[in-house]
């Protein structure tokens, strides 16, 4: 469950960063995607953050859920900003898929 929340927060932050011109340039080295595309990334990012929030509240209640959510976002954001963007940009897109899927698998198995 913890991995799923972390995975969702991570994917959300990846989507939100894709919605920024600067990171499009970082990743693809060419001009940014269309405005409509960027808008889509932004919606996806906020949607995933909301999903992570809902999951936390469902699992841990209204008192502890938001604390989990904020903590998971902090760790996901640190991984993205300090680890992947400067040192392993190629891993970002695959990890944005792998982490939530692995989290889902772990949550359904355990």
């Amino acid at each position: 469950m913890m991995l799923l929340v972390l995975g969702l927060s991570f994917a959300a932050f990846v989507a939100l960063s894709f919605a920024m011109e600067k990171h499009q340039l970082d990743l693809y080295g060419k001009a940014a995607a269309s405005t409509a595309r960027m808008q889509l990334w932004r919606w996806l990012g906020w949607g995933l953050l909301t999903a992570a929030f809902a999951l936390c509240v469902w699992r841990h209640g209204w008192a502890l859920g938001p604390v989990w959510w904020l903590g998971a976002m902090t760790v996901a954001g640190l991984l993205l900003a300090f680890g992947l963007y400067p040192y392993r940009p190629r891993w970002i897109a695959p990890l944005a898929w792998v982490l939530p899927v692995a989290g889902l698998a772990a949550a359904s198995l355990l």
Binding site: S17, L64, V75, L78
Partner: protein, 538 residues
Amino acid sequence: MKNGFRQSMAWLHTWTGLLVGWLLLLIFMAGTASYYREEISRWMRPELPRSTVSADQAAANALAFLQHKAPQAESWNVSLPDTRNPAMRTFWRNPESMVKPPAEGEKRRRRGGGRFGDATLDANTGQEVSARETRGGDFFYRLHFDLHYIPVIWARYIVGFCAMFMLVAIISGVITHKKIFKDFFTFRPQKGLRSWLDFHNVSAVMALPYHAMITYTGIVTLMLLYLPWGVKVAYPNDEDAFFSEAFARMAEVEGPAQGRAAPLPIQQLLDSARMHWNGAEVAGFVMHRPGAANAVIDIQQRDGKRLTIDTPSLRYDAVTGELLDTSPGAGAATRTRGVMYGLHLARFADWGLRALFFISGLIGCLMVASGVVLWAVKERPKHAKSGRTGLGLRLVDALNIGAVAGLPIAFAAYFWGNRLLPLQMAERPAAEANVFFWAWGAALLAAFIWPKRMMWAWQLYLGAALFALIPLLNASTTNAHLGASIAAGDWVLASFDLCMIAFGAMLAYCGWRMQHWQPPLSAAEKKRRQQAAAEASA
């Protein structure tokens, strides 16, 4: 004051942050370690056996011990073992008649003076265990608001002052940070000042909810010390009345013991409490007037499901099992305080959430550390131009090395002290604390004598070695080493050793980066080199 709102906020941020930065780092590091206070205490007393019996059996064992050891006591207090710390702690309060008068020439009797007794028990057998004397993780917990060697009240005022400055620095920092959203994910390494600024920004922004929460709630925990006047006006003669009213405690048990009667089995009493709470576990209990016909028992709930620090308790007649009292519902203000206090201490957190809190705390340490380093990095070019390092920069450099690289040495040294000081030494807990401050003092002194880049590397390497060798030290001085703890599935002890190796590795990496640091090339120099390379290949 400088012109412009943002500039004045930047000025405020720089100076509030720098002034208290080094002490804040100590507070943040000790506070972060306190998330694992119980685990640290456990590691520092490796003699304690793990508990393998149920809470009911442990409680019965404790009562049997107390019945034998302190039958005359006015009350017995028992905290039951849990998964984080297996020690079962008991203490008891003797009647006034048993207390020795103060010794000749002393105004007050020595602490306790026979009034209180305490013992740590093996939960499995109910026998007193003799473990080495140590304050364990409680040392870090106390250090982060009581400091050390100075009166507690002064310390709390100093810490409160630092926390206020931290709050000002957080708010002014957010205002100063022009591109808080644009640079949300931006960290550009190998770019000198730019990198330090990015690092400081990202570490602050990513954990901003945590930083703001921990600073604000930290001030709230001590608010009645900082702002006592409201209570003084409303309760001019009796502050205790305020505390019991405001914090919704049950009334004190008063009156002498009457008659003798056998209490109900403890299991039955604990089960009624669990039923009352819909299955919530028991943390411990206080038996008042044990053995008497009017004995009562206060049972306290374990933390875990709620944010607030105020855990409910129930009072039963220990002989008939009748429910006598429940902790009263608190008012809105008290509940707010309870939640803030609870958030600060995070006792509700299970292992996963605790890890998230710990990581956020570490990021807080790195944010403070990068902030004070940033000041020096920014200042250095001005001094380089004039050819000599000014006094202010030299002072900041020394304090930076002594705090950022020196404090990890002190933390590791404290653990070394726990394993190496003679077990039968007098005042052993105080000696362990002295080891911490001797190590820190030595690091600070060395930093003041020679505040250069190689001093950074040396101190970071020393800290790395001290941390990474702790598992070896543990193996050579105790039987609770990694080989034994992993084999026994004792993950509290094993994780402690593994974390020490991880901290050692991180410090070693930082030391290596410091040692091999090259000043970033100026744009002109880069261009010149590129041209030279192009000419060479042509």
